[in-house]
Assembly symmetry: C2
Homo-oligomer: 211 residues x 2
């Protein structure tokens, strides 16, 4: 009689598959989701566990215009989804569905035993996502802002951030020149943008009229 | 004849197990190792992929003594191994084998389109690991420094860092008061150290003689 044996075989396979799911869950330890989730009205759900993504860098009081001065100190932390980080390490550029999160925090100074310099406040003061979705956005990338809400608002392609990133970003409209672990990779892989290379060459050249 | 059936069953189980390993590897995506690796002469191997661990925070020019002033600006980034981060989220404190990595980078100012403030240099200027290994170290925790080498040197328990962390750290000898996502957790879980709570109470009290 074959039936019981088949059943036993199936049972073993099902048990193995069950163990498989269990061990996969144990190994992956419930990783933070990294797929963009859109709402029906064109919003982007905040990737809630972006703080478990890969950290790229932090700026302090950075500004791209000399006439912008804030009345207080600020930190901005940048994170990227892990799969895209791993791909960047291999290729020097970003795959589709890359999400970069910019988190802005105020700076505190005198607190606990700190006597000089600044550390980060517990309050997040701003959040922005820069997202690559080649089929969805005309320029492949889009910016979303999250003004105190869990769903981000898409910034129109006419906003300054798009043209500034397109004109000055080191790799694929992202400011890799400010991400210390990625700039050497992009340099060695030859993925720096033509605009960025031209700007760097101009900055390195002696001023006109210099001897 | 039973033998071929058993073989077929085994083959199916082995195939399922193979698929299991494959899918586990695909899910875990080769996670960065997070177990401390010691050398035979009491050194600690640098956790090479700590930049894929969970980011805690960044300080700018932080110093714990008012008379320490550096001639240049510095960033310090702190990372923790992911399993310990997840445990902290549940309990408000650190499990055994927790590793915190402090990475020091110089600060750059005028570069690319940055006009104000600072961003991080590609060169790492210092690395330190703060490691909990309850059975190995007298005070449960130890500091290792990595002066330009892949193997860290254990700092003796008489160094100032041990007494300073023991006296002022918010949670289990670690400066959670400077890690913005962890301080609220420790506060709500009631795991703030007695010393830290006493210091905060003193700092919040009006000065003696104030009306």
């Amino acid at each position: 009689m074959n039936a019981p044996r088949v059943t036993r075989t199936h049972a073993l396979v099902i048990a193995a598959a069950g163990l498989c799911l269990l061990s996969a869950a144990a190994l992956s330890e419930d990783p933070a989701p990294e797929t963009p989730a859109y709402t029906s009205d064109n919003g982007l759900k905040m990737p809630e566990r972006y703080r478990e993504w890969v950290y790229l860098s932090t700026g302090f009081d950075m500004a791209y215009r000399a006439d912008i001065r804030m009345g207080h100190h600020m930190f901005d932390n940048v994170f990227v989804n892990p799969a895209s980080y791993r791909e960047f390490q291999k290729t020097g550029t970003w795959p589709d569905k890359t999400m970069l999160v910019l988190e802005v925090r105020g700076a505190r100074d005198q607190g606990s035993i700190n006597k000089n310099g600044n550390y980060q406040d517990t309050q997040v003061m701003g959040l922005e996502v820069h997202l690559k979705d080649e089929k969805r956005f005309p320029g492949k990338w889009a910016f979303y802002v999250f003004p105190g809400r869990p769903v981000g608002r898409l910034l129109p392609q006419t906003e300054d951030c798009y043209s500034c990133h397109a004109a000055h970003a080191a790799v694929d409209t992202t400011f890799v020149q400010f991400y210390p672990t990625l700039l050497p990779i992009a340099t060695s892989k030859g993925t720096l943008s033509a605009q960025y290379r031209a700007e760097e060459a101009t900055a390195a050249a002696p001023p006109a009229g210099a001897h």
